[in-house]
Subunit: 378 residues, 2 copies
Amino acid sequence: MKELVTSIPKLHAGDRLLCGPGPSNVHPQVLEAMRQPINGHLDPDLWNVLLDLVEGLKALWRRLDGVSLCLSASGTSGMEAGIANLTEPGDKVIVIHAGFFGARIAEMARRAQTELVELTAPLGQIVPLDQVQEALKANHDTKLVGVVHAETSTGVRYPLEKLAHVIRATAPDALLLADCVTSLGGEPVETAAWDVDYAYSCSQKSLGCPPGLSPFSISERGLDRIRKRQHPVSFSFDIDLLAKYWLDRPAPYHHTMPILQYYALYEGIRLALEEGLEARWARHEDAGRYFQQQMRDRGYTFLSDPDHQLWELSAVNVPEDVDGKQVQSRFLRELGIEIGGGLGPGAPPIWRVGLMGVNANREAADRVLAAFDAVLPR
Amino acid sequence: MKELVTSIPKLHAGDRLLCGPGPSNVHPQVLEAMRQPINGHLDPDLWNVLLDLVEGLKALWRRLDGVSLCLSASGTSGMEAGIANLTEPGDKVIVIHAGFFGARIAEMARRAQTELVELTAPLGQIVPLDQVQEALKANHDTKLVGVVHAETSTGVRYPLEKLAHVIRATAPDALLLADCVTSLGGEPVETAAWDVDYAYSCSQKSLGCPPGLSPFSISERGLDRIRKRQHPVSFSFDIDLLAKYWLDRPAPYHHTMPILQYYALYEGIRLALEEGLEARWARHEDAGRYFQQQMRDRGYTFLSDPDHQLWELSAVNVPEDVDGKQVQSRFLRELGIEIGGGLGPGAPPIWRVGLMGVNANREAADRVLAAFDAVLPR
């Protein structure tokens, strides 16, 4: 445009069943919570809400010690906050990756000017644990190991608990950073029992909230690492300052929180606890297993090694003679259903189907299955 | 707490007239826009919404060239994104500050390991332009000058246009970074005409949206500086990647946007353009002048030099025998009105009254005045 506009058109967003890699549809009660009046970030009543929310976050992350808080930004920034706080330039960092988001951890570690060791595997596979063990033996000065628990780009789950054991047994000074963006709320994430030092997630997948926040949890060991830093850390991502803002009273100002997003997260976590985490995980597993079996019955195959297949997200291989993007477009335009495609330039031809949050049930799965049947009749 | 909780109580937020330093109350039509169905961040329909939003952002920032976008985070992060993109370690940076937020720019410049020159003045005053000119002459290699246009902690406006002239005349290679968190939408901010290289704001003050976003605008010269960087920049704050995400089609994935917040911002900007920016500025000026005159008539004084007094925000000196915090508490508890106090450890005894967005009118001013009269009868 050559001139500044004097108006923009009214917004009209179409209805969608969001069964892609996220965002998922928002729980109606979460939307309702966002209609409550905004209280300011320095309002004592809001401070009390935040303290209750912290208890909810601890319960969700299954950790009492360390701190469990939330970054007022996307999961991407949750990832970066972990790298920013837990590494210093020149630190040896191992990143295990076989997908878009794992590669992004490596990219962030590069930008943080760490000494990066990358362990990779073909898409759909995991980097074997013995390979990680060897790398740790060869790099005993490793300060941080980064991995994606549930790789949203491939539908693969990494055996996080076993990885933590390998790290503790081999390189006791290395901290473990785990991307739980797609796993938190949808399957077991036991930060204390598994001994994960820094885990981060998002609001818009299995928690049934709108996108915009990144819940995270950090261990005492992680906090200790931060206290001993030599280099300054980004102000926005400074976990030490954030912890004071969330937990000290009166709260020292850090930033103005996205209050309505926090109301949403509060209600999303309240509902998750009300349902019970185990019941919620079982619901996600049932929906995923059901969808995947139904798709296999129709002759479809999956990108993920079956031993590591996520329930929350399924990466379906696009059959050879099919235009995957066109199918996605017909789902969206004819049926109001969003599913994802491959992510990034090197992505294989896949569809990514997510059954998360309020969509983690057989009814949503059936709507997606019916869409496949309608657009690609057998 | 010694155990993980199994539930958290239901959220009940009290009604508030938000006449502090922000957030302000949200426009009802903005809240309505947030109830539209979420479309994913990779949905072509959303991409079109974002392109319209970009035109709105350009109109708001009054600049066609460069890029005008929005960071999916608070104004604090908008500040940090500017420092992160426009400086490299060792760069000479001048920060002009006489308040909490200006001091924060300096803090971020320190964390970014720049060579920092600080120019300060007493709270309520501005650093004189001839002092800036002298500093620029003494530091001809200055790469960036940072300043707050509307200092939310003191109610002071910096003469931004004149500052830009001084910089261009004295140190042509220095870029100008301006904090417009409290000014954008409430008074003239002419990034192109004034030649401001990087300006950032927030959603929750004069734009009448909920907190959570940081609209920003960067000049061609600023973009050129970014292209010539030697050091990597934070992934979250990488303006080059963000511009591709916002403007290229198909959009290369960067992060998952807080979609409902963008619906809100879209509607907030649509309403601002519908009202007309000049009319909106005049409304803020009228409300501020009215409130300040009424307070002066009651014998109150202000922290700000009258020559530089903001309309959007008034820092009222707390009378000597009055407990300012207690007054704030009574406003909140008895009348449901939020006003601010001094910000930070060294703050003077002040109240900060904001009349911004939907509250920029004499009716809201009258409610605050009535509260002063009720709690502090003359």
